[in-house]
Symmetry: C2
Subunit: 219 residues, 2 copies
DNA sequence: TAGATTGTTAATCGATTAACAATC
DNA sequence: TAGATTGTTAATCGATTAACAATC
């Protein structure tokens, strides 16, 4: 009987997917939860528990078939969905992020790029021309994108996300510090807070060893 | 009596810091855990519990003094440490990340940028010239950086991180998929796995509503 | 003083780990 | 069949929430 799926399990799936892709590419066809656990720094128990949320992927006495498991997790993650996606902000971060979306089997398909800087209008990124933000509304009406990637600062984000939600955007990959999920509880949001990540590292790097030991013991 | 500090508390600190900065900038000098909880989408209980890990920041019957709390959390996060930091990889991602490190009070100070692409050697990013990777070893011997930011693909990362660890690097901000923490258990690593984040969003965006309901109920 | 709100402990909830029967 | 390893339940552990005494 399959277990309940929790958000913590889902957050581990992409990492499983990467490791399995690597094993597959190295011609490994079979792996036990024990060996995968060693490679990934997890417990065998957790791996079996995680995979079991989605139904029996393994075989008793044998283990898991790597290519099969890889394909199944890919299906769960909907890597072939090709969700129509727009990118707002074509600075360095936007360009870097565009290449991630463009990656084969990311689950998304980049269909439009927008920036308020007129100087870069018409420039081509990942095969897509940069449009001025003025054209955003009409573009959405015409093309009905489902996902928006936010690579601009937080100023005036409320207006922008209000508009995008009104135009049918249902999910956000948010690199700004604006809290889209609080402003729009009805949409799906995945945040990448670079400054938060950096400050966490600052704490870890600059705290005294004694302080860190207190933490690692609880980790 | 102060509570134990856990990694989950620490991961919340930068967000508290951002919210408090915003409150401070808007001239708000006093806030209760209840009101802060409403603004941040947390429980008042959790906020009091979190702050109490680091000692009493508030006053019964009054609440918390915003500028004071902001300063104290900044101290805990060591935002003024100015840890000497090098950046490996000066592509779009590297450039975007350099600007984050350059931000006032990130806790870090960018002292060197390296890239294996000779064509961009000498280019200036955030006031720092890009050097060819060949100079990395000598630069570290001369300048003793403590933190390295990895903005290159995973290929041959083992060799690179071996060298950096040997040269005294003690913490990594890792944007590659190479698992530094598994290869070097002695160093501190903060990972930003953009592809993992994107695939999590793919799951959330493309899964059926029924599936998501099962999850949100457990969230 | 009375009201408000913290600090702190206890209760609850959920996630991870351990154990083992099922079965390949 | 015997050995290996999963699927699954129970036990443990940790994090969050609730409650309330302390106190400003």
């Amino acid at each position: 009987m399959a277990q309940e799926i929790s958000i913590s399990v889902i957050k581990r799936l992409p990492r499983y997917y990467r490791f399995l892709e690597n094993l597959k590419d190295n011609g490994i066809v079979r792996i036990s939860s024990k060996e995968l656990a060693e490679r990934m720094g997890l417990t065998a128990s957790q791996i079996r528990h995680d995979f079991n949320c989605f139904g029996g992927f393994g075989q008793q006495g044998y283990g898991y078939n790597v290519p099969e498991l890889y394909t199944k997790i890919g299906k769960i993650l909907c890597v072939d969905a090709g969700v129509k996606t727009i990118l707002i902000g074509a600075g360095n971060l936007g360009k870097a992020v565009a290449s991630k979306i463009f990656t084969r089997q990311s689950g998304f398909k980049l269909v439009g790029i927008f920036d308020k800087n007129e100087a870069i209008s018409g420039k081509i990124i990942q095969g897509i021309p940069v449009r001025h933000t003025n054209y955003l509304e009409n573009f959405c009406i015409d093309n009905q994108p489902v996902c928006a990637v936010i690579c601009i600062p937080s100023n005036d984000m409320k207006e922008l996300t209000d508009m995008l939600c009104r135009l049918g955007i249902r999910s956000f990959w948010n690199f700004s510090n604006f809290d889209i999920a609080m402003a729009h509880p009805e949409v799906l949001v995945e945040n990448v807070h670079l400054t938060d990540s950096l400050m966490t590292l600052s704490f870890l790097t600059s705290s005294s060893k004694e302080e860190l030991e207190k933490i690692s013991s609880a980790e």
